[in-house]
Amino acid sequence: MGSEMTFYENLSQRGVSRRDFLKFCGSTAAVLGLSSTFVPTLASKIAGAAESGLTPAIWLSGGKCTGCLESTLQATYPNVADIVLDLLTLKYSAASMATGKYALDAKKKVYQGNKPFIMIYEGAIMEGENGSGYTMINADGTNSLDDLEAAASSDQCAAIIAMGQCAVDGGWVRAFPNPSGATGMSEYLSRRGIDVPVVNLAGCPASPEELTAVVVQALLLGSDGTLESGIAAVAADLDRLGRPKYLYNATIHDSCPRRGHFENGEFVYRYGSEEEAKNFCVYPMGCKGPQTYRRCPMIRWNDSQSWCVESGGVCIGCATWNWVDNNAPFAGRHRRVGAASSGPLAGWPLHGGGLHPIGTGAALTGVVAAALVAHGLGMKAAKRIGKNATLKTEEMKEYDAKRLKKQGGAN
């Protein structure tokens, strides 16, 4: 009881009431797909973990805009999710700490120590110029690739949380023409032969609620109540794209508050219009919600205040692979006739050209139709068709005629 008081005192000090905490547990249970009967279990697991010692974590950064870190840290006020995330003691954060000797030692202590840790990796892994060309160089001359290699190769690394789409597949950093040689975490580790469980949190940026959900799920699944044992269990039950199933099992479109307008054919065609004021569906404005698996309509952003489509924008499909190349222009229904930024179709035939698929297809069909008309006129001119047609069928196949000729017969 005494230890629980300490935890709730901690909450109270941050202005979070027990009621708030239980509400948070309820909403997290909903995100995890659990019934409300799990709320007390969740609450006791979180409280227990907070009292039984913190799990070391390091937050490494590759090529990124720091949006995922901002998204996680920029709470308008201390909220419950912050407290859950405090279960991870962040020993090192590449983006928010100076890279002096103290920071480097703190980082090394984690992955050279004897306690399992969790690595949160934000940003793409930029292999261009051996990792030195585009990333932060530490005071000792090492770079972010060296950091990643050392941490991921450590026996104590329990799992890697690939935070945000850049860490998942290279994200926007990897978009055509990918000058920095960016890549995603799973791909990089597999190429380097490093075997560490990776949990992908897709999206640009990843949201704190998604990270919180993974931490809470790990607490629930951990065999000994520790995060490090639980995170391995989380990593063992991911979808085929390495994401927690419950966070990416429905499209934006499935639970969009504007979905009814889509079905009714009530659309916004122009910003500033009456239709926009009525919150009609933004599908014609380029919304990629039907192709994007993420739970933004349920979780929402900025302490669950709103999210892209609710605030009037379109879903730009930021949780899909190669999302910039595949989904741009974001304000258009379709990607222009363009190219992939890597793989066998790289750079073919045009990158991000101005050709709209509907217009291009119609133009191509029109060209064929015009060619057929011209061909028809040619057929007529050659007297193959029409009243004065003189067309006749050949008397012998060309092939047979040639063979006959070879054999010395008549032509």
Binding site: R240, G265, Q291, N326, R335, A340, L364, K392, T393
Partner: protein, 216 residues
Amino acid sequence: MPGKMVKESTHPLFVFTHWTNALAMLFLTISGLYIAFPIVGGLMGIARGTHFFWMFVLLINIIIRIIGMFTIKTCCEQGTREKDWDYKNWLPQKTNRHQMWPMVKYYLFFKKDYPITAKYAGLQKLAYWLSIVLTFAVAYTGFAIWGPTQDWWIFRIGNEIVGSLFGFGGGDGLMPMRLIHHWIMWFILIFTCIHGYLSLIYGTKACKMIFLYKED
């Protein structure tokens, strides 16, 4: 240059499947274009309903047509009423063996006389096979982007391949798959233009037969 069109060159079931194909293509194209970009409001429910209904009709229809190949007899040569299994029309025949290239030359005006051919010319056979492949491809890509079926293993494989081609060697392929579905529609439309042109260029007798089952 088709000879006289005799009733034995086709079968009432094929007239029916041809009509169904034509209507399905028409409704699927119009509703699909609307779904791709709903140029006016109010019709999305109707467009999607139409698209899903005719998608199943088209698929069942093409399967019926393929079964018909093996169970129905039609004449396989020009200028005869003698019938044989319809599938033979779809395979290389003695009459038009080695005639593909002469036919290409003929239509490009490099050859004066019309090449000897069976009921279907070599190019025609190829185009008809292509139409079956395109129909299955458009159905496949359609199911691969349709919510209820996109996670079936058979469609997931396609999504993964497309995801690999367009998504850094992995990931989901829903957006590129949508575009591939769209492009196949244009190829089918281009095929239909050429098909319509070649069936009408020598007169209306082929059309009368396949649409009305009437000898000229």
